[in-house]
Amino acid sequence: MNLKDKLLSSYIAFEDHLEDDSPLHDLRSEAIKTFEVNGFPTKKEEAWKYTSLKSLLKNDYSLFPKLDHAVEFKDVKKYFLHDIDTYKIVFVDGVYSSFLSETTHDKLDVCLMSSALSKSKYKPVIEAYFNKVAKEDSLTSLNTAFAKEGAYINIPKHQEVDKPIEIIYFSTGNEAALLLQPRNLIVVGENAHVQIIERHQCLSDNAVLTNAVTEVFTEKRAVVDYYKIQNDCRTASLIDNTFISQERESNCSVHTFSFGGNITRNNLNFYQKGEHCDSTLKGITILEDKQHVDHNTLVHHIAPNCESHQNYKGIFDDASTGVFNGKIIVSKEAQKTNAFQQNNNILISDKATINAKPQLEIFADDVKCSHGCTIGQFDEDALFYLRSRGIAKKEAQALLMYAFANTVLESVKIPELKARINKLIATKIGVNLGFDI
């Protein structure tokens, strides 16, 4: 049975287990129909031209792992931002791990999607927000049909969350191949501030495919900083579908650090619905071997007087491939929009590939939009400068790559995370810098 058929037949059993009065019943039925009609995207679709899921769909994935496999904190400590205190929502093979988590219902809800979907006190929020910004494409619909577990975060208005929230999905490899479909809902109230770190981490060499959907709602003047760490093992693939809805004067940034994994596809969508919004999309991609990362971004300027800033940098070695497909839509009403997009890439090997495609659709007449894309090797003057100081060519190149990638980190607001990523970049590239001074 192929994966699509397996999913469709599993859905019937899955739906049977849910309570009949689930508010999502109709939504799920619609969603599975969308998936049934469209199936998994293929390279024939424009948006998937450079990313093929074919190799991933051959695996016989387990869809519902049953056990909460015990994972010791000491074994996974390094995946947490352990040098500072954080809230933690942790899942092991798709199941919530209360042991590894640190949540709260004190002034804010940092808890589980399963509770939010089943308990009546969350019903108004679910009705108001769940699946309200997510696109109805095939993969998002597949996630919606099976949506059961994930992070549910609701920050009341004027609340400045005291510490970052880490959302981590571990997979143990106890299943030969595992399909995970986490569903996150994050609602950030008026003038509230929150910082979130999301990570998917495989703990073995067994195949994992994650089809994640995250919806983020930033109300008026809310500030959200979202960091995605993608440094998974080579058998783990990720399709990340993130949808962000911004109300007026809100500020939202998403930084995506893609250093690992097999095939990674980031569908990152911003919708600016109120005036004076600010959106930041930044990414560093450093790949080797046959790794593949596809950044598919959309910034839709719907309201006037908003800004968006995109800056993606990539370094590609060996036969790795990268895709940057950045779309900016400026609606007719969105006058005085400032939209900027930058995508810079370095190809180290002759076999590495980057496909870059900016798409601007502008329907307003008083806007400032710019995009720039570079694919290059090294700046010869800079290389000579370093070599003239006695730094060998290979090290000089590494230092320049490090410098190239590092500029994206300037806007990271959690110092410990910044230091962590900085180190990761240095290790990845092979520069040995003293970070102590």
Binding site: D379, E380, D381, A382, F384, Y385, L386, R387, S388, R389, G390, I391, A392, K393, E395, A396, L399, L400, Y402, A403, A405, N406, T407, L409, V431, N432, L433, G434, D436, I437
Partner: protein, 249 residues
């Protein structure tokens, strides 16, 4: 220390150096002056090994062996240092981290272990004081957002740290106000010894008031057309280069 014999160099198909002869001994300071486009900066780059230039004739003997085929880093390991006219900005790498990397790479090339951190810190402090460099400056990204004067001072700081045998200062005086010029010149003078040599490339005699040269050479159209002592620099300041052109005709 340095013997350049009949050196010719071109970039793409343009001849820039057309037969340079220059002999420099340890302990000497040589100034190279000349109008724009005469080949001064090319000469500096060629000695340091920039591969944009193609050597078509001649040799560069440094301490007895020809270095003209060596990589820039190999020349640096032998003790050649170039202070850049336009130092390159490297975001995300601090001055300290950069100089630490450079020093340890040079040590590695000599078969030595990394410099112990405490020794490195002490040396950084000492050399920064010599050039009146603020501690905060050292943690900034290399040359990023530096003023012209800060960039040049940083070049001399690197020179002080690396302790080269031959230092080539390419228009180190440009972009410096008089106070900064004094600090930089004072730094260079303190680093001078009977074991090392300095080549000063400059447009103006002003720098030579503070770093006094033993010899002054005039470079025109890719050749050294006149050599003399520091008095030649005064003459050039006063009369410009035209009289030399006339002399040559």
């Amino acid at each position: 220390m340095l013997n350049i014999n009949n050196l010719h160099a071109k970039v793409e198909d343009k001849d820039i150096l057309k037969g340079i002869n220059l002999n420099i001994n340890a302990g000497e300071v040589h100034a190279i002056m000349g109008p724009n486009g005469s080949g001064k900066s090319t000469l500096a780059s060629v000695i340091s090994g920039k591969d944009e230039f193609e050597l078509t004739q001649g040799e560069i003997i440094f301490e007895g062996s020809d270095i003209s085929e060596l990589d820039p880093e190999e020349r640096a390991h032998k003790g050649v240092f170039l202070s850049f006219q336009y130092p390159v900005e490297i975001p995300g790498v601090s001055v300290t981290n950069f100089i630490k990397t450079a020093i340890n790479e040079n040590r590695k090339a000599q078969g030595q272990k990394d410099m112990p951190a405490s020794e490195m810190l002490k040396m950084i402090k000492e050399k920064a004081d010599l050039l009146e460099i603020d501690r905060k400056f050292l943690s900034r990204s290399l040359n990023v957002g530096f003023s012209g004067g800060e960039k040049k001072r940083n070049e001399i700081f690197q020179m002080a740290m690396l302790e080269p045998k031959l230092a080539i200062l390419d228009e180190t005086d440009s972009g410096l106000d008089i106070d900064a010029l004094k600090i930089v010149a004072n730094g260079v003078n303190k680093l001078k010894s009977s074991d090392n040599a300095v080549i000063l490339i400059t447009h103006y005699q002003r720098l030579l008031d503070y770093i006094v040269p033993d010899f002054v050479h005039v470079l025109m159209d890719g050749k050294i057309v006149k050599s003399g002592t520091k008095e030649l620099a005064y003459e050039l300041e006063e009369k410009g280069y035209d009289w030399i052109k006339e002399e040559l005709v």
